[in-house]
Subunit: 551 residues, 2 copies
Amino acid sequence: MRETLPLRPPPRPNDATMVWNGWGDPARRPGLDGRDERVLAELLGGPLPHTPSVRLEDVTLPEVTLPGPVLRRLAGIVGDGHVRTGRLARVAHATGRGYADLVRLRRGDATSAPDAVVLPADHREVQRVLEACAAHDVAVVPFGGGTSVVGGVNPQTRARPVISLDLARLEGLHHRDATSGTATFGAGTRGGDAELALAAQGLTLGHLPQSVEHATLGGFVASRSVGQASTGYGRIDDLVVAVRAATPQGTLEAGHVPSSAAGPDLLRALLGSEGTLGVITEVTVQVRPAPRTRAFAAWWVPDFASGQQALRTLAQQGLAPDVARLSDEPETRLALAQQSATARAYVRARSRRITGCLLIAGWDGQGWQVRGRRRAARQALGAVGARSLGAAPGRAWASHRFDTPYLRDDLLDRGVLVETLETAASWRELPDLYRAVREALTAALAERGTPPQVLTHVSHVYPTGASLYLTFLALAQRGAELAQWAHAKQAASQAILAAGGTITHHHGVGADHRPWYGHELGAVGALALRGLKDALDPTGICNPGILLPDP
Amino acid sequence: MRETLPLRPPPRPNDATMVWNGWGDPARRPGLDGRDERVLAELLGGPLPHTPSVRLEDVTLPEVTLPGPVLRRLAGIVGDGHVRTGRLARVAHATGRGYADLVRLRRGDATSAPDAVVLPADHREVQRVLEACAAHDVAVVPFGGGTSVVGGVNPQTRARPVISLDLARLEGLHHRDATSGTATFGAGTRGGDAELALAAQGLTLGHLPQSVEHATLGGFVASRSVGQASTGYGRIDDLVVAVRAATPQGTLEAGHVPSSAAGPDLLRALLGSEGTLGVITEVTVQVRPAPRTRAFAAWWVPDFASGQQALRTLAQQGLAPDVARLSDEPETRLALAQQSATARAYVRARSRRITGCLLIAGWDGQGWQVRGRRRAARQALGAVGARSLGAAPGRAWASHRFDTPYLRDDLLDRGVLVETLETAASWRELPDLYRAVREALTAALAERGTPPQVLTHVSHVYPTGASLYLTFLALAQRGAELAQWAHAKQAASQAILAAGGTITHHHGVGADHRPWYGHELGAVGALALRGLKDALDPTGICNPGILLPDP
């Protein structure tokens, strides 16, 4: 049984057809219906206003400061058609797709737009573009799928000219080593396209973040991405075998052997470097035969703590499911409210109670492996009093699992603040972290008169701990959306650090987490990172203002 | 069924009881008997001479250049009894335990000895020692178990005074987080002691390098160690959760959460840093319940290639055994020659042929997991024509698996050059790598009139490739042992790089692999590593001459 990914070629942000205020193809977008609106209005305590966005032609763009001769030198490297300075290209590369990005764009604010968008064809051209930019002191912001939700692709400063380096043309399967079980892709290859190319050969990478239709393999590596099945397949850190990168100092190749003790692993320096050390141009990943068996199951667990206990037991036995998603009570209630009456009745009948938490699990593998791990899951969950809900809720989740980001346009149209954040901690610290972040978000938004709904799930489990993924919704404060968002973000971030969590489990640092990253890194860690940066990018042209804490 | 590690408290190299020309307690050493000598003499083509080593009091030590006031400042930090300048302490810290080290020591050459051995009690003292050494321009060589076989603990230069920083007092289990499944040890804790402390609580780390009785957790991390079951448990990179290190710039703590996207993972910068960035003082590792089932099995495979094919199939299915050790034909023949007549008859009877290769596999886990993976192994091995030899050869290997290093003293006593080296490559490149290294070693030693026996096994398998572990034996060239060794080492290293292998899979770079490491790292990689080094150790006092390639 193989699941088919619901993928089709999405529009590129630099296509004229793009929907610039959200992700992807409008025809593909699941919308909010009347019932959804009523549920939301009730939860958030007020009617939902209509808040339209401006038209593309009314968006404000900054002056172009890139000198003509430099533009011509860049065109000389990549070809005339591959340097774009038009309105659509600049707006499309002004931001990623975080809530604050969308708010700004909908208001018509694209002041973070680059001077130009440059689309090199291959590693050599990327290397030459970097050299030209270093020579002329032009900042370079690498752009893959443009799905950063932490400001990672937004040019941060206009202190010097800046280009967005779009890697769309570095796409495709370059090489497949069937013996070693690896595949080498251009860094601009989208995750979904990579999966389709592999599926045609009976293979899978198994890396399925919610952004998989748009985000690129280079972006996965640069931001240390996780996918929905990363509990089983491992995060991209575990899947990437080798990387080629262009840096202002020349080409860096890391990771040619499966395992080595030859000094610190420089592949790990590129993982999470977010374009600040150079531009990843080629990524080699470990691929696997597509699983023979894929199964989903759902359980109703008595509470969030007991669900965590069961997942912890499984992870520490080495028997965690590949997908492990445990919703807390508020997220479970909302998920239930969104279901049809029939589905709700089904859940109620199977669970015989209506408080509790929903756990969705998924397994890939050979039959006996899936059976063995399902048996272990039944034991661990039975021990905490969970009840099986069968396969249907898991399958329903799987069939809609890439949809949620598409709802954001509709939510913003209706004046709803919707944002997500994610963290991780050891199992011991996880309960306190959960309470602290929920309370901080709730208090911060209540202070502003917009009490939120905070929905949380455990999204990835490890032997030593787990991640928390939080979604919060509130009525947006019209005209003060960004201040409202920043207030909530600040409260949550401080709470995370105080409770021993990481400032980001998989969204990356970008610009949004940078104020707190220095604290997590520590003073000596920051020195180390700065040493690495200065060695590879001595003039600081690579994604300035991203990642690295202020000295 | 739990295996008991054959561990007992071994003498420390700085104990007065130490056997300074080899490892450990003479009573514990398995010796060579008359039959072994006859087999060796026949294989190496000549009688084995007796080549005794000098006495401790005849060893040459360098002048002490550390000024008295600095020595007193160091004693002020660690206490008078913990700064040692006596002959035994200096000789014991002059080298690790590579072949070249032993040859030099046996000749009475301890010119690499430090001026003093300093034994701090805790992280704070290590930090203060580093600050004092930075202030007085004294080099610091961290010393854990002293088991480096690549010169990693040998002071490399006498351009400035140098101390050996022995971490013996930073030992013991500091903290155990039962909920998160982690344990925090002082970096000077020996691997065997850590296993014993964990076993008392029904736990295991599962990291069993051949040096486990002596080597320390800090040393494992500093040199990116692997253990004999690392195919299943993962190399130390996969087991370490957090590290505390003292650097000349202050304390660096890395890895407080199970998983993060907050920038490049600095824990990975310390892994493999070999004391060049600072001194690891505390290590937190993931621990597991001791396995309920442990099983070993052996097979007779038709040849080295078909054994690799079976292991590759298993690794790519995610079903590799935890221990996977496939000997090539020469190693198999020697292993067989060393067995008793009964064992040989048994193997012959079970295999019904006498050419082929021995494969030993081991599994840990719950019953159904071990059964499932054994079934997969039987299938993959059956498909290449392997025959089962039952559990006995695997158990025999397991019961003697920490003994081999102890044979080296006896071999050196008999004038035998014995050295090991290890590399790894992708499955595609592995066969050529194997041929190239074997041929290079054979040719290089034949050129010198001492044709070797080269014995190889695949020691660790990964989905994308595997490691090769080579042992070579030849008659030593009396008086020219080091030139003979260097000639072989150079030939092997050049062959490894040319064939796409890594210069080291688990021994580390140290001094011995440094001439080739720069080639593997590349010019830009070397810049990155140097940037990191300069940021944390700006005056270059941390293990100078180790790891970092010349600019």
